[in-house]
Amino acid sequence: MYNATVARLTYRGLLGRRRAFILFGLPALLLGVSVVVRVLVGADDGTASSVLGGLALATMVPLIGVVAGTGAIGPEIDDGSVVYLLSKPVKRPTIIFTKLIVAIAVTVAFSAVPTLVAGFILNGNSQQIAVAYAAAAAVASVAYSAVFLLLGTVTRHAVVAGLVYALVWESLFGSLVPGARTLSVQQWSLALAQRIGAEGAVSSDVGLPLALVLLAGVTVAATWFAGRKLRSLTLAGEE
């Protein structure tokens, strides 16, 4: 199911282009903000929770997810170089699965890990807040990677579509319309954070069992559909 060559090409494509600036820039921003907050406010659980929930989980994780998920396949489809992967006796689901693993690894490395570090900077993992948010960021990374990888296979405007989803749906509607929260990767992952964190430290609108089912369901469905999409990918000629 996993192809090392496809993985290598995907990593090099992701980390070697301009996307790398965003991948390195956002975590650096989070860590910078954490240091400043710690120095100015001191170790405070409430503040730590709002920085990790508001900046890390609500903004940084989906953005990194968009960059890594769409970037794992979108540019290759756009410029046509995907033809070199597809004109090989390699199963399409293998290509998608490998790219998903790479996207998840990159998203976890550039969002969940910095979230953990930021949590320790902010309040030294008091009330398990750092670990809780890092775990949430990790499971959200998986679902975001799958969803944005799918977007990369279905539309040429995957980055824009991904940003609209991440910023408008997750951030804006999520905070204004209560019902929208139930259909939000962020809230599902918060359910896990709620379980890990101390009583009352983190709260989610969704129960943990439902959240896990939805996370797994979305990941599997998006991956399956992306594989299907790639199987009948049509390359329009220059004409």
Partner: protein, 303 residues
């Protein structure tokens, strides 16, 4: 020895018919797919390469369907027209990745690079390559698994004459080895130099198929139209119409010229200056009025 068979294939995009009921078989040797830009050559090649489903009809390689059959790529090598190719890799890394995806290794990659004579630049990033170098590395990536079928979409575009000759030699060699080599081109001379067998498509239809020389003759023997201006148009017209090589002459008073339709190209071109000299007429303009490739092709469709 492999053959690609296209059977009653049509392909449309929305309301636009790109390929219209085409049937052809491409066998071992070098075949040229000739047609003007926008004729449907890329659409046909994409269908033969498994990157486009026919709207109707079937495309098969030795009886096996090509669409949605990734195992078929054990036998097919593809050289796409588009430029993009993992520019951040070196030539060697790129060809090696292609070899690995076929389950092969460094030795095969090196051999393919040697075949296209690109070893000297194999450690440079592809982004620094010229168009001809890119084309050769693309060739190496397509040859790495020694496929029995090689599909090339406009492979000579942007190549300088020396690179063109090298690639032609290589393709000739592959054809002589018994591989099925199909390349598309909109340039008659390119096809003439390389292909023994050609398939002509015009406006999505299969216009002609067969030996290049026969089709070339068909193209040369078609009625030619000329616009001629001389010191005495009417006297020239009278003298020319007496010869069977001329089918019709119109005196275009407004233009001050003769519009001549010649049926025998060779004879007419010899006759015109001869007749003019005999009658003491000076020829001021002799210009063919339908020499564009499109008109040559559209004549073939009508034939």
């Amino acid at each position: 020895m492999s053959s690609i068979r296209i059977d009653s294939v049509s392909r449309w995009f929305g309301n636009v018919v790109a390929v219209n009921d085409v049937s052809m078989t491409v066998g071992p040797g070098v075949t040229g797919l000739l047609g003007p830009n926008g004729a449907g050559k890329s659409t046909l090649i994409n269908m033969m390469g498994g990157f486009l489903a026919p709207s109707t009809g079937t495309v098969t390689l030795d009886g096996a369907a090509i669409w949605r059959n990734e195992q078929i790529y054990r036998h097919i090598g593809i050289v796409p027209e588009r430029e993009a190719m993992y520019d951040f890799l070196t030539g060697l890394e790129f060809v090696r990745a292609n070899a690995e995806l076929h389950g092969l290794g460094a030795a095969e990659a090196q051999k393919a690079l040697a075949t296209v004579e690109m070893e000297y630049a194999q450690d440079r990033a592809i982004s620094t390559y010229s168009k001809g170098m890119r084309q050769r590395v693309k060739m190496a990536s397509a040859l790495v698994h020694e496929p029995s079928v090689l599909l090339l979409d406009e492979p000579f575009n942007g190549m300088d004459p020396r690179q063109r000759m090298q690639l032609m030699d290589l393709l000739r060699r592959m054809g002589a080895e018994g591989r099925t080599v199909l390349f598309s081109s909109h340039i008659l001379e390119e096809v003439e130099q390389l292909a023994t067998h050609i398939e002509v498509v015009v406006a999505g239809r299969h216009a002609a198929s067969g030996d290049f020389r026969k089709i070339r003759r068909l193209m040369t023997d078609r009625p030619h139209r000329y616009l001629v201006r001389s010191s005495d148009d009417r006297a020239l017209a009278a003298a020319l119409i007496a010869d069977p090589s001329t089918a019709g002459i119109e005196v275009d008073v407004q233009e001050g010229a003769l519009r001549i339709q010649a049926v025998d190209f060779g004879r007419f071109t010899a006759l015109l200056p001869q007749v003019a000299r005999e009658h003491g007429i000076r020829l001021l303009t002799v210009s063919p009025s339908d020499e564009s490739l499109e008109s040559v092709f559209s004549y073939l469709v009508a034939a």
